[in-house]
């Protein structure tokens, strides 16, 4: 399989020294290899998404039309959707279309799926970005703050808050935000989206509560990761070396500790992104935002399988793509990682 990541076999690491190295080669090679891996992973993901909907019992046309449909109408729909062709032909047609930007026709809306998704992404993407921004800002600040005060009251407070953050489901937090800000204080709309044409302010206003609900809950995990990554690094010998050079604690933290803590933090952020996508679907539901998540639910209700397939594929591709960039960023930070991929 192509996407196998070969790690150093048990062989003695003492002998991997290479004196003929040049930095640019190494990064370039890594980028190239990682990109091939990305393509292979995407291809595999598309097979999985296509395969799951394929393998599951039931004729897709039958599922779409419901049990009461006559065999003739089922056959007609199957023909219209190309379901009477072979598996490989259908996969090729689907993936070929997706690559050309043609996502196929929605059976329920009777319109091309591409524009349908684009319209929804205009809500979902800003929401995810906003939430990620909140998560990162809160988590890095709180995590660094706590790590610096290990065991003191500030640390204990941050850890307690993050423990609560871990326990609160994001959709309930969203409901609570609605209760407080929309129902009680009437500061923000309780749901819905006015559209970007209603003005940036109003559109962002509709997104701020959902983004907070998503971002703050995610921040709980990342705060803990940041703190623990930083504490691990602060225990390293090179931190003592930096202090022995005469660097202040502050300079040691910023110049030596944080960059080293960044790779594990970024890696977790990449993994969290999948949760963020999932969370966005739920939170969109709470706030009745016309995002991708809503499209998925409507399509499930409409039994519009192709739309579900396209949306899931898109979300998975985004997650895989984000993790690709995380790996690249980690390799840019840490020269040791550039030799890992094969």
């Amino acid at each position: 399989m192509l996407f196998i990541r070969l790690e150093m076999a048990g062989a003695s690491p003492a002998m991997t020294m290479d004196l003929n190295w040049t930095p640019t080669d190494e990064m370039g090679l890594y980028l190239f290899q990682r990109f091939i891996l990305l393509l292979a992973t995407l291809a595999f993901a598309s097979i999985v998404v296509f395969g799951v909907l394929e393998i599951l019992p039931g004729n897709a046309a039958q599922v779409m039309l419901g049990a009461s449909a006559t065999p003739e109408t089922v056959a007609a729909l199957a023909h219209k959707l190309g379901l009477d062709q072979g598996v490989i032909v259908r996969y090729a047609a689907w993936i070929g279309g997706v690559l050309r930007g043609d996502f196929g026709l929605s059976y329920a809306y009777d319109s091309p799926i591409g524009p349908l998704i684009a319209e929804r992404l205009a809500v979902s993407a800003p929401l995810a970005l906003l939430a990620m921004l909140i998560t990162t800002a809160v988590a890095l600040a709180a995590g660094v703050f706590a790590a610096q005060r290990r065991g003191k009251s500030g640390d204990v407070a941050v850890m307690a808050a993050s423990q609560i953050g871990l326990a609160v489901p994001n959709f309930w937090f969203a409901i609570l935000l609605v209760l407080v800000f929309a129902v009680h204080w009437r500061l923000a709309p309780s749901g819905g989206f006015p559209g970007w044409e209603a003005g940036l302010g109003r559109a962002l206003g509709a997104l701020i509560l959902p983004a907070l609900a998503l971002g703050l809950v995610q921040a709980a995990v990342l705060t803990r990761v940041t703190r623990s990554a930083l504490l691990d690094v602060l225990n390293e010998d090179f931190i003592r070396t930096a202090r022995a050079k005469g660097l202040s604690r502050r300079a040691t933290l910023w110049r030596h500790a944080l960059p080293n803590a960044l790779t594990p933090i970024l890696t977790i952020m990449g993994l969290q992104f999948a949760n963020l996508i999932a969370g966005a679907i739920v939170v969109e539901y709470v706030f009745t935002l016309p995002g991708l998540g809503r499209l998925v639910f409507q399509s499930i209700a409409n039994r519009d399988l192709l739309v579900v397939e396209d949306c899931v594929m898109l979300l998975v591709a985004i997650v895989i793509g984000v993790n690709f960039f995380v790996d690249i960023a980690c390799a840019a930070i840490d020269p040791r990682l550039r030799r890992r991929a094969a």
């Binding site: 003492a14 020294m17 290479d18 004196l19 190295w21 930095p23 390293e236 010998d237 090179f238 003592r240 070396t241 930096a242 202090r243 022995a244 050079k245 005469g246 660097l247 202040s248 030596h256 960059p259 080293n260 930070i333 840490d334 020269p335 040791r336």
Partner: protein
Amino acid sequence: MLLEVAELSVDLPTSGGVRRIVRSASFALDHGQTLGIVGESGSGKTMTALALMGLLPDGATTSGAILFEGRDLLKLNEAQMRDLRGDRVAMIFQEPMTALNPLHSIGRQIAEPLILHRGLSNAAAHAEAVRLLERVGLPDPVRRARAYPHQLSGGQRQRAMIAMALGCAPRLIIADEPTTALDVTVQAQILDLIADLGAQSDMALILVSHDLAVIAQNCERVLVMYGGMAMESGRTDDVLARPAHPYTKALLQARPRVGARRGERLQAIAGAAPSAGAMPKGCPFAGRCPLTIAACGEALPAPVMLGGDHMARCIRIDAAERAA
């Protein structure tokens, strides 16, 4: 005197309560002199070294005095200590792989104290870093300066560590087990390098090691530590030729020697060193010493001067002399 340590004690909080890791250690060192601190694991030798740098773990408390260039380091505040560290006093650590930041190039790490203490520009500091790498005997220093730690061998990394310590021409270098992680042949080269550089620039050197032989060959004076206490100290020749403390004697006889008869029984020291949590009130060696009497366990033995600055802390020195 460059350095005078008087009655230094270090207490460290642990999960089992506060532990005294160093117990009333005293020693002195002048410009250009070399002192070896030898001890087994848990003897307090590394904590003594870290106390000199003001880099003890958080929560550690100290008593006594560390006079360096006339100032008591234990009374300086953090900012004053920072000005000394890396400038007047520098340290070389045991594991050069973990003691170097994996994300920064060697050159950048060597340049850092130069920028900090000498106010050099980035470019000037990097040029100086290359010169320092050349001075510690790394071939092709320009390229080595651009390399990252994982791209060098263990010996090369330790040379880079030494270059970093040398940067600001400190008056005192503390080397904590600088060769333990290295192979024997590389160890010899690194020790030679440290000795040469020290001699060239009249730096004082404190070499911390578990290996008495390493210290014997590299230090004029030696301090033997055990259970946090300085058991014996003096000129290396004197201590090796006429060890006064039963522990030093036992240590000298415990090692197998090249050229000795095969299978010959070694003079093993029975038992194991007391842990910091179970340290006896008196002499820490009391439980394992063949000459132990009741009084040994009661109070910390006072220093006994044996001519010159040869000192041993043992109340049974007379008996030890007779036994020898």
